[in-house]
């Protein structure tokens, strides 16, 4: 049986926290460059150029690309045949976050009580979603999530009769209302189906998919393309200052639904669409 040590998980997580915040993923950079060719607003072009330059500085100097280094959200797949030695997986992840945010000069943005609001000082606790899978690997994905874009997200329980039109309407309305707040150009994660919390989780998971990769179901892929086009007609543009690049991508995930329900969730990500994965 494969064994992974607690300390190794701590160190790997610490590294992931830092890398995710310093190194913008290639697919996002590509999307900046693609949209630079299409953007109609001169101010919008200038903003996209700044974002490219910012990513270069962050990479070169190992500085966070955004000062909001986020809530540390983890998706972890644990192989059923794997043994973790020396402590609990969740504890190891939290210790890794503590170490990574401290040693990596990342901002600590978590308050320990939602109403009393005193900073925990080490960016813990992390939010950890664990699933059991076949095999003996440990796959850890971190997706640090900024507050500004998270605040513009939402979920709605539609009537099944509202169908795909109702879904489109809610997605467009959410992006429209968010305007300049979530730091456009944004990535729009959409979850359709399941229960209320399942739809929200699907929306967050949708943000992990590369921006240039469409859903495997052709009808959902078409819906992603249609929504992206509609969103970019809103005119919000880079930073909300007007323009044609409001979103870089719309990623949708779906799940079976109850006969009475059509939940839809929209999780907005800023252009600092960060995530990193490692398999141990």
């Amino acid at each position: 049986m494969k064994t992974i040590k607690y300390e190794d998980i701590v160190n790997v997580v610490s590294g992931l926290c830092q890398e995710a915040n310093y190194y913008l993923e290639e697919d996002v950079l590509e999307a900046f460059k693609e949209n630079l060719k299409k953007e109609k607003s001169p101010l919008g072009i200038s903003i996209l150029n700044q974002l490219i330059e910012n990513a270069e500085i962050a990479r070169k100097e190992r500085m966070p690309m955004c000062q909001d280094t986020g809530f540390a959200v983890f998706f972890v797949e644990v192989g059923q045949d794997l043994r973790i030695e020396g402590g609990l997986l969740d504890d190891a992840i939290n210790e890794g976050v503590r170490k990574g945010y401290m040693e990596g000069y990342l901002r600590k943005s978590i308050v320990g009580h939602p109403l009393e609001r005193k900073n925990t000082g080490d960016n813990t606790p992390a939010i950890i979603y664990t699933s059991l899978v076949k095999g003996d690997n440990l796959k850890i994905t971190i997706a640090p999530k900024g507050g500004g874009s998270e605040n513009m997200s939402g979920v709605k329980m539609l009537k099944p009769s509202q169908g795909v039109e109702g879904v489109k309407e809610f997605v467009i309305e959410t992006v429209d209302k968010a305007g300049s707040n979530p730091c456009p150009p944004i990535v729009v994660g959409v979850g359709i189906g399941g229960t209320m919390e399942k739809a929200a989780l699907l929306a967050k998971q949708a943000l992990l998919r590369p921006l240039n990769q469409r859903h495997s179901d052709p009808s959902i892929a078409a819906l992603e393309a249609e929504l992206l086009e509609e969103i970019n007609k809103l005119g919000i543009g880079p930073q909300g200052l007007g323009g044609t690049t409001t979103a870089l991508a719309v990623n949708i995930e779906i799940f079976p639904a109850h006969i009475a329900s059509l939940p839809v969730a929209v999780n907005i990500n800023c252009h600092a669409a960060r995530h990193k994965t490692i398999v141990l």
Partner: protein, 184 residues
Amino acid sequence: MAEYTVSTPLTDEIVDKLRAGDTVFLNGVILTGRDAAHKKLFELIREGKELPVDIRGQIIYYVGPSPARPGQVIGSAGPTTSGRMDAYTPALLDLGLKGMIGKGLRSKEVLDSIKKNKAVYFAATGGAAALISKRITKCEVIAYPELGPEAIYRLEVENFPVIVVNDAHGGDLYQEGRQQYQVK
């Protein structure tokens, strides 16, 4: 859309000529403050007490920087969402605050107060935090050190790039920009 280089503090004369869409490069001193510091300032104003900083003619930058590495002036320092400060802003503008730097929409009360008090709301590029940090040449905490990244800092800036979103004459780039590029 004009381009200006402006030294702080701001005067009525400078604010008067700025229009939504203008690019401005700021030089001199700006203050920082976000949620927790605004709440504290607002409570002092309500109690009729003196503020720990003189805000007359000043610009407040809504930012909570990441920690500086040894040798750095400041860590990454992009703007945070301004709307969370809306409840506290009119009281500060009434006391003579002249400018704000942030990102995102402001409330009607803030927009009215900007006009009434001849002030200006600038946007910095959200998420361009590493880039922006290069324009900050000095950084020191001047109030509420216990708030960490939420403390009030005094920043010295050189050619700090911002865009006028809301001017003293009612101009609003968030509205005008959208209308210009909206496809109906």
